[in-house]
Symmetry: C2
Subunit: 159 residues, 2 copies
DNA sequence: ACCACTTGGTTGAGGGCTCAACTGGACTCT
DNA sequence: AGAGTCCAGTTGAGCCCTCAACCAAGTGGT
């Protein structure tokens, strides 16, 4: 039932650095946020998701999916953003259970302020070390891997 | 001072799925560990590092570097592994400050037991979605990015 | 109308992680 | 030898995150 063959040399050469990237990169980016913008990486992700929402707002559970955080966490993060005036939370008219979150003007400008520095970090830690062809080539591959990680439709052969 | 140009379409196509992978993959792997082996991903990483150590043991601060965790965290993780009988901690003879950690027999077999399942997960979530050429191509690229993330020698032009 | 069930969100408890403050061993300079 | 400094590890405080338990609003069958 379980695969006992170890990783090949080539797989090993992918997996080792990938684990390192997965653990270190987020920390490096987080540091930027804490030190220079006063919001956390998570806050930022929430603000980005809201800024990209079709209608300008998102219900909390959709926000949770968009950010890959638990609904429980999103609930608290949004509350904290509301407290800091960056986000607004309004109960849905037609369904008393749902709450919609949207950016305030202040949230929008906080996001605009944080964005360039974040991008600069992403560049200096990632894209500056990749050739243009490598970037072009990596997109579809990463998309495939990411898609497989999503809870639904993970299996390529759903029959 | 700060780069204001947004990500190109190709960069975006790399960055989006990569963030997703970075946040979701660790969680998926962690779940396996908790549910099936009784050790955490962090525990596992420590055990692996120790099993690969030249001399069979590592001082705590080297373990911290190897795992990219804070010394503080390592101190507690090792204590917990000691308490569970998977690791042994011995004060260094020649330098009263340092503590060396090494695997116990029980730790070694715990590692051997967890390894195949972990590998199977890594395969099913990652390598099963990559073609052999892709795997071969990705290694050096990821190694380069990972190297740039290491605290020392990060800058390609230190002059 | 009522009861059971489902669904969106909130809250309490607890684990993982880091930073800062601290302890105690070792090295240096006089 | 004694004071100052540095270094390895420990410990307390506190944030981030999840799970499980919960509450309140909607839905469907009778």
């Amino acid at each position: 039932m379980v695969d006992r063959v170890p990783l090949s040399r080539e797989e090993e050469a992918v997996w080792r650095p990938l684990t390192r990237i997965i653990t270190v990169l987020p920390r490096v980016l987080e540091d930027h946020f804490v030190n220079e913008t006063g919001i956390s990486m998570t806050d930022y992700t929430v603000l980005v998701s809201l800024s990209e929402a079709e209608e300008g707002w998102l219900r909390l559970s959709d926000l949770a999916k968009a950010t890959a955080l638990s609904l429980s966490r999103i609930s608290r993060v949004v509350d904290s953003l509301v407290k800091r005036g960056l986000v607004e939370k309004v109960k849905c008219e037609s369904d008393g259970r749902v709450a919609n979150a949207s950016l305030t003007e202040s949230g929008r400008s906080k996001l605009a302020g944080a964005y360039p520095g974040h991008l600069a970090r992403v560049r200096s830690h990632l894209f500056d070390h990749l050739a243009p062809e490598e970037i072009r080539g990596a997109g579809p591959i990463l998309a495939r891997v990411a898609a497989a990680l999503e809870p639904d439709g993970a299996q390529p052969c759903p029959e």
